[in-house]
């Protein structure tokens, strides 16, 4: 029975990551591109907070590498960023669970900001990127989307009893 539950739960987790991958490459008009939240980071942060014993830096590395391949950037950039994000979220998961949703959103802003900063560093190794702070905009939008992501994933987790 317990094994069944685990297998079922795994499906929910994998599907949520799959949806995040699709959303992060969905074609969007140019003026909306900066407003795209970092979906994979959001989903990862949720699962780390909810199930820190199952989802951690290893999952973050795999998801990050897949995202790098998908986006065709420097291999390892998102992997490194998400590993760091997952580690910090693992350390903070008990505190994050206590927070009300807007406090969580603040933390999500900081976590996704770290993610963006690391990606920007790695990409500036490869090419001359622009030096503006616009790379932080996705972090703002990730924080704005967090309450809905959180509510949606929590509903899924409770409905399918993912543990």
């Amino acid at each position: 029975m317990v094994v069944d539950m685990g297998a079922q739960g795994l499906w929910v987790i994998m599907l949520s990551f799959l949806a995040a991958f699709l959303l992060s490459i969905l074609p969007m008009p140019a003026w909306l591109q900066w407003a795209r939240p970092e979906w994979v980071a959001l989903v990862l942060i949720y699962w780390v907070i909810a199930l820190p014993h199952r989802i951690g830096v290893s999952v973050a590395f795999v998801a990050g590498t897949l995202l790098d391949v998908l986006e065709g950037g420097i291999l390892g950039a998102h992997a490194l960023a998400l590993v760091v994000v997952a580690y910090v979220a693992t350390l903070l998961h008990q505190r994050l669970r206590m927070f009300v949703v807007w406090q969580q959103a603040m933390m999500v802003f900081i976590l996704v900001g770290i993610n963006q900063l690391i990606c920007q560093w790695v990409h500036s190794l490869g090419t001359l990127g622009d030096r503006s702070l616009s790379f932080l905009l996705p972090a703002v939008f990730s924080a704005l989307f967090w309450p809905w992501v959180f509510a949606g994933l929590r509903h899924l987790r409770r409905h399918y009893r993912v543990q």
């Binding site: 490459i25 140019a30 014993h53 790098d68 065709g72 390892g76 992997a79 490194l80 590993v83 190794l125």
Partner: protein
């Protein structure tokens, strides 16, 4: 329920080192390309799935557009076809004349390039990097370095090929530069992408150069990557600053970099040695018979 800090820390170190190794391998070693193209093949379904909404919208537009709209479009396309045909008539005479003159001058004849129609199935999700994903790959003999054009001008070059898809770097990406020529005066220059879709910059053009707003930039064919004579951009701004050694010249790409959905991959002769030409069936038959 409890997360052991020591094991989490150990895994952090392990995976951080793994990511850093990946970054190093990607930046410094070249042999990651085969791995990349394999993984890229696995990723094709993602791009296909992400493209579904656009395709559904197109399908709906095609099937539910009204009769009058269709008639209207048909009429417009017919007149456009007539116009293009008229232009092509003149072109035939001109290109014949051009070939004769080139033969007189003992220079190489301009070869008609073969093209392959491809469709965009994905665009870069990162606004700082400009690339597109096409639905043609190694199965259609697409190769790394192949030029991509649309109806109006040059778009970019293929940088990664998998079995069914390929990734094309656009000329507006900040890591891209290409040799161009001003069509009016023949002055050669390098057009660099600066990371915005609507601007290219001409680098290191002496302040005395003959360049004006409205000049057409075409590929010069130097650099052995792009074939000669495809329109690249139109000069939009020229600034001669007396304090600077070089002129400040910007240009607007001719191709609709963020609008074209149907694009053309150009097979240019001698551009890449690694492509193997398929043997034409007639040749085989004549050999056999």
């Amino acid at each position: 329920m409890f997360v052991k800090d020591s094991s989490a820390g150990a895994r952090l170190v392990l995976w951080t080192i793994a990511s850093l190794a990946l970054i190093f391998a990607d930046l410094k070693l070249d042999n990651l390309n085969t791995t990349r193209s394999l993984l890229g093949g696995l990723m094709a379904p993602f791009y296909w799935a992400a493209d579904v909404p656009v395709r559904v919208a197109n399908w709906g537009e095609e099937n539910f557009s009204s009769r009058t709209e269709l008639i209207e479009e048909n009429r417009r396309l017919k007149s456009e076809a007539l116009m293009l045909k008229a232009r092509a008539q003149k072109m035939a005479a001109l290109s014949a004349g051009n070939t004769r003159l080139r033969a007189l001058l003992n220079s190489t004849a301009l070869v008609q390039d073969d093209v392959l129609v491809a469709e965009l199935i994905g665009v870069s999700p990162d606004p700082q990097r400009h690339y597109v994903i096409l639905n043609k790959g190694r199965a259609e003999n697409v190769y790394v370095g192949q030029p991509l054009i649309d109806a109006d001008g040059l778009m970019g070059q293929v940088i990664e090929v998998s079995q069914r898809t390929s990734r094309v770097l656009l000329i507006s990406d900040s890591s891209h530069a290409l040799p161009v020529q001003i069509n009016r005066s023949g002055v050669r220059a390098i057009a660099e992408g600066i990371g915005t879709l609507h601007t290219l910059r001409l680098r290191h053009l002496p302040a005395t150069t003959d360049v004006r707003v409205g000049d057409l930039l075409v590929t010069s064919g130097l650099g052995d990557r792009y074939p000669v004579g495809y329109p690249v951009a139109v000069v939009s701004e020229v600034q001669f600053d007396p304090g600077q050694a070089f002129a400040n010249v910007s240009a607007v790409p001719s191709a609709a970099l963020n609008r074209s959905r149907h694009v053309l991959l150009v097979f240019n002769e001698g551009g890449d040695e690694s492509i193997t030409e398929p043997v034409p069936p007639e040749a085989e038959e004549s050999n056999g018979g």
